[in-house]
């Protein structure tokens, strides 16, 4: 078995674990982690497929796509964390619907 197959399978296992986790967990931070894990799995499959080329250097196009993907995934994580933080903030101050933040927005 060549090594790209191994890593591709590993990436798919990560994706599956992440997807199952996404459905299984209620806690918002766990869900953010789960979606991150799914993303990592997909990226790993892409990079593994880039190595599938029988000869020479790996395909640079999937590499560039994955670079873009990592940056996009960090921004989605950051946005997710910011939203979760906002939810926590609203919940901790009790009234979710009408409360305006101490600092104003």
């Amino acid at each position: 078995m060549s090594s790209w197959v191994l890593y591709a399978l590993s990436g798919m296992a990560m994706f599956s674990v992440g997807l199952v986790g996404l459905f299984a967990h209620r806690h918002v931070v766990k869900r953010i982690l789960a979606s991150n894990i799914m993303g990592s799995g997909v990226l790993l499959v892409l990079v593994a497929l880039a190595r599938r080329v029988p000869s020479g250097a790996p395909d640079p196009i999937p590499h560039a796509l994955v670079l873009t993907g990592i940056v996009v995934s960090v921004s989605s994580t950051a946005l997710g964390v910011a939203l979760a933080r906002r939810i926590a903030r609203l919940q901790s101050t009790g009234d979710v619907s009408t409360h305006s933040e101490p600092g104003g927005s």
Binding site: L6, H27, L65, V66, A82
Partner: protein
């Protein structure tokens, strides 16, 4: 033999770590395991001959995401409240994940293996791209759209994160000044700047570029936020706004300029391509650094806040 062992170990440990991340009770443990998983996947990417990605993963995927997630620990409750009985759920989770892996694996392994991919085509046109490193050529020349839109995604995410948590509270001034961390930061800064500069420069010939450099600078910035009195950059500051727009504006300018001389969007003249790519990368580095830095909330946890609230 050693290679096979290393590959096998990495390939097995990644899903296992992922599973552990999602199934540990304590969130702090989950985040630490997540960071460990990120480092392992950086190794995996190095093994798959993708040094560019390994660098970005180590800096962004693991470093900054890890810091962000660690920060969430300060305002979220420590253990995830799981109400369902755990023992039976495990089994079903594992079964579901295995079945899904099987189906996906079958689909991916059934792909035809005789395709050469786009590698040869990139190699054939590399000379026209203005740089010598295929990944940089793809990112900034052949698929410039991707990078342009990616910067837009980053900006939108930063704006969104700021819109929901508008106040960038500076760390309180009376915070005790730890002499050790301050000294660490002072010693680290020149190395961080040097490394980032090198990475932008080297992007033209080898693994490196704006994202790696920006990530490392942002990492240094996060350390600065944590150890010094610096707050997260404020969106209200005019300087911050302009710095955020440097990358996109310059990139759009460079992308649109060929339209006036009869060219197409994002079509760099081969003679100038190298210089243009370098300038765009420098500008992108500024924006990426700032955006990544703005993701990191310097604020104190809101848990403490409601003390004064009714």
């Amino acid at each position: 033999m050693m290679d096979a062992l290393l590959d096998g170990g990495l390939a097995l440990s990644l899903p296992f770590l992922a599973w552990l991340v999602l199934h540990t009770e304590a969130l702090s443990q989950a985040v630490v395991l997540f960071v460990a998983m990120g480092l392992m996947s950086a190794l995996a990417w190095a093994r798959l001959e993708a040094p560019d990605i390994a660098l970005v993963e180590a800096a962004v995927g693991t470093g900054l995401t890890g810091a962000l997630l660690m920060h969430t620990l300060s305002w979220t409750e420590e253990t995830a409240p799981e109400t369902l009985t755990r023992a039976t759920r495990w089994v079903w989770d594992i079964l579901a994940a295995t079945a899904l892996t099987g189906v996906l694996g079958w689909a991916v392994l059934a792909l035809p293996t005789d395709s050469q991919g786009l590698g040869p085509e990139v190699a054939a046109r590399l000379a026209d791209s203005g740089v010598e490193h295929p990944v940089t050529a793809v990112l900034l020349n052949f698929r410039g759209y991707d990078t342009l839109l990616e910067i837009a995604v980053l900006l939108v995410a930063a704006l969104g994160a700021r819109a929901v948590n508008p106040r960038t509270d500076r760390p309180k001034l009376e915070t005790e000044h730890d002499p050790l961390t301050g000294e660490l930061f002072r010693m680290m800064t020149p190395a961080v700047l040097l490394l980032a500069g090198y990475l932008v420069w080297v992007g033209a010939h080898g693994p490196g570029g704006a994202f790696q450099a920006g990530a490392i600078l942002a990492g240094g910035g996060v350390v600065a936020i944590l150890t010094t009195r610096m707050g997260t950059p404020r969106m209200s500051s005019r300087r911050v706004r302009w710095a955020l727009l440097t990358g996109p504006l310059l990139f759009i300018g460079v992308a649109v300029a060929p339209l006036f001389s009869g060219g197409r969007l994002l079509e760099f003249p081969p003679r100038l391509a190298g210089t243009l790519i370098f300038v765009v990368e420098l500008a992108l580095t500024v924006t990426i650094t700032l955006v990544l830095l703005m993701f990191f909330p310097g604020a104190r946890p809101p848990k403490v806040e409601p003390e004064g609230a009714p």
